[in-house]
């Protein structure tokens, strides 16, 4: 391991000290942040009458940021409450249609009447009970209800229904309420991050292997003691870390904006916004989504490094980055599992299962497995080609 980390730092510097890469990252981060914010400011900056919970009223001029802060706080006013009968009863008592449709309805009218903007998602359920809510917005029962309404939707076998029902036994009922507008926005926007990820990884890593040759330094590098086997390992490590870093930057661009504008409660069950039977919380979904994104980035990065190494051409590596994007865009068929569809939420939905060796695997497991195997395969192939190219002689 002698000098591994010293060389690693130099390789990272060679990858990252490029204005083109930072310019692209800044541009895409801005784009993703813009997509993650509310489409239109439903409450623009201006003068509002603010009614405190005790009924007292004040008139204040609110800036753009203050409006969002108040809106965010209001949205989370009911967070952590069990969605039991008393919760729905309280909603029925505090919310009423005329208030919401009044012409002068604005931010104060729900902040102060103690009715946060959950009406956006809950007003349709004012007459519901916890059980009825679950039928409409939950796991297997909601799935079956949807299927009854739309016969072509879904086609689970009895075995698959049993699998999901068993998994759902670990979901805590009644649900605990959290405002999930932020997570909903995140789930919609992370799709764009996934779509753009291979291109950014391509720009990031296409120069890693061909650069020494392009700069006419391969002779000096390969004649050095560690210029072969160890340098190959260092380059692969730097490439892998950089690929994960790109995934992290794009992921954080989306998550950061959603956190700022909407707030995200990590403890919320994902059933509040998905038809899912996974007994996981928003925090766990975020971790799993990042894991999948990082693996996808590693897979794309591995492909880019492999092609650029074999061709000794950064343009070829960059072109290889288009392959995952093209698969996403042109692979037709409703059952095709492309990376894009995984990130559209397929990983966490109730869906068909893959049967291997008598065991059933859901899409989340299949996705993580396929991405891991693909990433490892490309990285191993890179190592073998590097060895072939440098160690065994050219």
């Amino acid at each position: 391991m002698k000098n591994f980390w010293t060389l690693f730092r130099y390789e990272m510097r060679k990858i990252w000290k490029r204005p083109l890469l930072w310019g692209l990252l800044a541009l895409l981060s801005f784009f993703l942040a813009n997509e993650s914010k509310p489409f239109t400011p439903d409450y623009p900056p201006g003068t509002y009458i603010l009614v405190e919970k005790d009924g007292s009223e004040t008139t204040r001029s609110l800036s753009f940021l203050e409006v969002f802060r108040l809106k965010r706080e209001a949205a989370h006013a009911l967070d952590g409450q069990k969605m039991d009968e008393s919760f729905f009863q309280a909603l029925r008592e505090t919310m009423s249609y005329p208030q919401m449709s009044a012409p002068d309805f604005h931010i104060d009218s729900y902040i102060f009447r103690g009715v946060p903007p959950i009406y956006i998602t809950l007003w349709r359920y004012l007459e519901l009970t916890p059980d009825a809510y679950y039928h409409n917005n939950g796991g297997v029962l909601a799935y079956l209800a949807t299927k009854a309404e739309v016969p072509d939707y879904g086609d689970l076998t009895d075995e698959e229904l049993e699998y999901w029902s068993e998994m759902e036994e670990n979901v805590e009922l009644p649900y605990t309420f959290y405002d999930t507008a932020g997570m909903l926005k995140f789930a919609q926007t992370i799709y764009y991050a996934e779509l753009l990820l291979p291109l950014v990884v391509g720009v990031c890593l296409c120069v890693l292997f061909p650069r020494d040759r392009r700069e006419r330094l391969d002779g000096v590098v390969f004649s050095a003691k560690h210029g072969r086997g160890r340098l190959g390992a260092v380059k692969l490590a730097a490439g892998a870390v950089s690929a994960v870093a790109v995934a992290a930057i794009l992921f954080c661009s989306v998550l950061g904006t959603c956190l700022f504008f909407h707030g995200i409660c990590l403890d919320a069950p994902i059933q509040l916004y998905r038809t899912s039977s996974f007994p996981i919380t928003v925090g766990q979904e975020l971790l799993l989504t990042f894991l999948a994104l990082a693996l996808y980035s590693l897979l794309s990065g591995g492909l880019v490094m492999l092609v650029s190494l074999v061709a000794l051409d950064s343009i070829a590596g960059l072109a290889a980055a288009l392959v995952p994007v093209l698969i996403d865009l042109f692979w037709s068929g409703s059952d095709a599992i492309t990376p894009l569809r995984m990130f559209e939420g397929k990983m966490f939905q109730i869906d068909n299962l893959v049967k291997i060796g008598g065991h059933l695997f859901n899409y989340l497991q299949a996705t993580l497995f396929v991405l891991s195997v693909g990433a490892v395969l490309f990285l191993v192939l890179c190592g073998l080609f590097w060895r072939q190219w440098t160690v065994s002689g050219r």
């Binding site: 002698k2 000098n3 010293t6 060389l7 130099y10 060679k14 000290k17 392009r214 700069e215 006419r216 330094l217 391969d218 002779g219 000096v220 590098v221 390969f222 004649s223 050095a224 003691k225 560690h226 210029g227 072969r228 086997g229 340098l231 160690v391 065994s392 002689g393 050219r394």
Partner: protein, 233 residues
């Protein structure tokens, strides 16, 4: 210490760049003269383990050319080498020192020492892209010496150097040659005439002259013209 080259050949589709070369080189300056296209650079790249020969073997005191131990004692200055534009001269040396296996403190000490030696101490912290051609060549010479090589292979090392620098570099090589095998490839007779201990001449992939050289001899140019007079310089 002996560099042994046995029946070395490198064949491309329609050309024999190196053809059946056998050599035994010991400490001292070994001049390698030859016209452009004679196969000097190909031979040197094979001796550095960068090119795989079609046939033959290279070993330094029995250590194979493709081993890490061989590269640990090898210094190489290619004829045409580049640089990382956003690296400073010092960064460049520190990076290559790490590649050559030097510890950080040793690398730093050695890099500073070599920058001083090649007259780049005052610009060591400036980016290489601001260097002139001669300064870059001197930086290349410095990197080749980072690991105190026992086998130093330099390909056209004086290209781009002004006359004063060439003299200084020749003296440096002569000094290194006392306990190092130096293989100096050039097509400039004056670069090797007065410092070489052993002279090699190469033509069309073959070694056509391999003999000890008397530094006091003054007929190298004549000899060179006799051997290569008809070849394109």
């Amino acid at each position: 210490m002996e560099l042994t080259v046995l029946n070395l050949s490198k064949h491309y589709k329609d050309k024999k760049a190196v053809d059946g070369v056998s050599l035994r080189l010991t400490e001292g300056i070994n001049g390698l003269l030859g016209a452009n296209g004679a196969g000097k650079t190909t031979l040197m790249r094979i001796l550095c383990g960068i090119l795989k020969p079609t046939a033959g073997s290279v070993a330094l005191d029995g250590v194979d050319v493709f081993s890490e131990d061989y590269r640990a004692v090898l210094g190489y200055l290619p004829q045409d080498f580049g640089y990382y534009p956003d690296f400073t001269g010092l960064d460049f040396l520190l990076y290559l020192a790490a590649l050559k296996g030097l510890s950080r403190p040793h690398a730093k000490r050695k890099s500073v020492e070599l920058l001083e030696l090649v007259g780049l101490a005052d610009v060591g912290k400036k980016k290489i892209k601001t260097y002139s051609g001669g300064m870059r060549q001197r930086l290349g010479i410095a990197q080749a010496l980072l690991n105190d090589p026992r086998l130093l292979i330099v390909d056209e090392p004086t290209a781009g150097l002004d006359p004063k620098e060439r003299v200084r570099f020749r003296n440096l090589l002569a000094d290194l040659g006392k306990d190092t095998i130096v293989l100096l490839s050039t097509h400039i007779v004056s670069d090797v005439e007065h410092i070489a201990d052993h002279m090699l001449m190469m033509s069309e992939g073959h070694i056509i002259l391999d003999e000890p050289w008397d530094k006091n001899r003054t007929d190298l140019e004549q000899l060179y013209l006799e051997e290569f007079g008809g070849e394109d310089e």
